[in-house]
């Protein structure tokens, strides 16, 4: 069983905020509009929305990391 986590590149991110709109279950915005990832493993039902958030980020700042096992 593998676990998927959302990885945010803080250098690339410019606070467009699309990700929080596309994936509000896992990504919120701080007071200045920079995304905050909750860090939990991504539930499988959010996989499609997460792939869309990766694709639509204008700064290519989001990646999904898949790791085998429970951590």
């Amino acid at each position: 069983m593998s676990v998927v986590r959302i990885m945010l590149d803080p250098v690339a991110c410019d606070a467009y905020g699309y990700c929080a709109e596309l994936l509000p279950e896992a990504i919120s915005l701080d007071e200045l509009g920079y995304p905050v990832v909750d860090g939990k493993p991504l539930p499988p039902e959010l996989a499609a929305a997460a792939r869309r958030a990766v694709r639509d980020c204008p700064r290519r700042a989001i990646t999904l990391r898949e790791r085998p096992g429970g951590h």
């Binding site: 990885m7 606070a15 200045l32 920079y34």
Partner: protein, 427 residues
């Protein structure tokens, strides 16, 4: 000095400070570079085993085990670079400057030994622009070594800009590669750093001096100081409300207050700042905490970059913290939003608190900002600022409560005891 437990001894025969600065004296005192003419596999494995047995951890801030860092780098292939990190961007730290001026050959020996074991092609020493005395000593030492055939791989001195984050290891590698001093986003720290396609092994100057000692005298000599979990000696720069600020070499595990005593505090300290400007305040209840990684962690601190600042009774810990966060905010590399915008906002909150001009939302807002900034930069620069403020809110809790009710600190506008580069620090 008082030892805190039976496993701790004051530095005896083993020490990294106080060896001769010239090559002839260095050779007479410590013997030749402990390296066979053509180091083979057996020598390399023995060296790796010895470093592992020593338990040496990095003295540049993160405290990462040197043997693990070496294993990661060895797996990345030969022909790389050993980078000596003498950037020492922390304004309150002098230990690496002093070490290089006093014992440049011990540091360079450590770099050559790691070059041999990783089959690296060169050693690069990074001393920031403006530190001409250190650079002159290192350049002279390199010339002596080249003339005496003491350097198996070429040694080169380079001069990156003197900025706080320039010494962060990914920023240093990037500067060597591109001339731009910016930290990189590295989600997996187990990936070796590279310069071009070749691996780069970066160590703080002090760590390399220990490597030079361990290779000569063995892991047990190193372990004759310190605790079982955190062996060896380390250099600490003491400043603040003390009579004799300066650098001391102490056994790991020495009680914090005994380390401070080496610099003669001007009175009973109000608090100690441990680890540097991105470190942690420690209050009187924890002054006897041993200076070793596990005990420090239980009080929320770490040895960090080996800085100990004594806060006197006449100083306000919150006002000093506010100045430090303003300084750290100004030293952001400017890449990550949470650091660029979060640190000035946090600095502003802490300043208002110290001045007694807090609004009723300040404490919950500050708490939220600290949570939001932590762990969200490419490097750990913002995390240091968060650690500093969090510890200030705990250690100076009584002051925080009074100031939040609008009572300003009577000491908030006193001149700072902290050291800042010229032209910085007026908060």
């Amino acid at each position: 000095m008082v030892s805190v437990d039976q496993t701790v001894a004051a530095p005896g025969r083993y020490r990294i400070l106080g060896h001769p600065a010239d090559l002839a004296g260095h050779a007479a005192a410590l013997g030749p570079l402990p390296l066979p003419r053509s180091p083979g596999r057996d020598w390399r494995e023995a060296f790796v085993g010895s470093l592992e047995a020593s338990g040496l951890t990095g003295r540049g801030g993160a405290g990462f085990p040197a043997a693990i860092k070496l294993a990661v780098n060895r797996a990345a292939g030969s022909g790389g670079t050993i980078v000596v990190n003498a950037m020492e961007g922390e304004p309150a730290s002098d230990k690496d400057k002093l070490l290089l001026i006093r014992s440049p050959h011990l540091v360079l020996d450590g770099a050559q030994l790691l070059a041999a074991v990783t089959r690296a092609a060169q050693v690069i020493v990074c001393v920031p622009e403006g530190r001409e005395q250190v650079a002159a000593v290192v350049a002279h030492a390199m010339a002596e070594r080249a003339a005496a055939r003491w350097a198996p791989v070429p040694e080169q001195l380079v001069r990156p800009p003197d900025r706080f984050v320039a010494g962060e290891e990914s920023a240093l590698v990037r500067w060597i590669e591109t001339g731009r001093s910016l930290p990189s986003f590295r989600p997996d720290k187990g990936t070796p750093l590279r310069i071009g396609r070749r691996s780069a092994l970066i160590h703080n100057a002090e760590t390399l001096a220990h490597v030079g000692m361990i290779a000569r005298f063995g892991p047990d000599a190193f372990r004759s100081n310190g605790t079982t979990d955190d062996p060896g000696t380390s250099l600490v720069t003491i400043s603040g409300a003390v009579e004799h600020p300066g650098v001391v070499e102490v056994a790991r595990g020495t009680a914090l207050l005994d380390i401070a005593a080496r610099a003669t505090p001007l009175g009973p300290p109000r608090a100690l700042l441990v680890g540097g400007y991105g470190g942690c305040w420690v209050g009187p209840d924890n002054f006897t905490t041993p200076y070793a990684s596990l005990p420090l962690r239980t009080v929320g601190a770490s040895a960090g970059v080996g800085v100990l600042i004594v806060l006197g009774r006449e100083s306000c810990g919150l006002a000093e913290s506010a100045r430090l966060v303003h300084y750290l905010a100004g030293e952001s590399a400017g890449q990550c939003g949470p650091c660029v915008y979060g640190l000035p906002a946090i600095a502003d909150d802490v300043t208002r608190l110290a001045r007694g001009t807090a609004d009723s939302d300040l404490l919950p807002r500050l708490d939220r900002r600290l949570r939001e900034v932590s762990g969200r930069g490419a490097c750990r620069h913002p995390d240091g600022a968060v650690s500093l403020v969090r510890s200030a809110l705990t250690v100076f809790q009584a002051d925080v409560q009074a100031h939040a009710r609008g009572v300003p600190c009577p000491h908030w506008n006193r001149p700072t005891r902290m050291r800042f580069p010229v032209g910085i620090g007026a908060a």
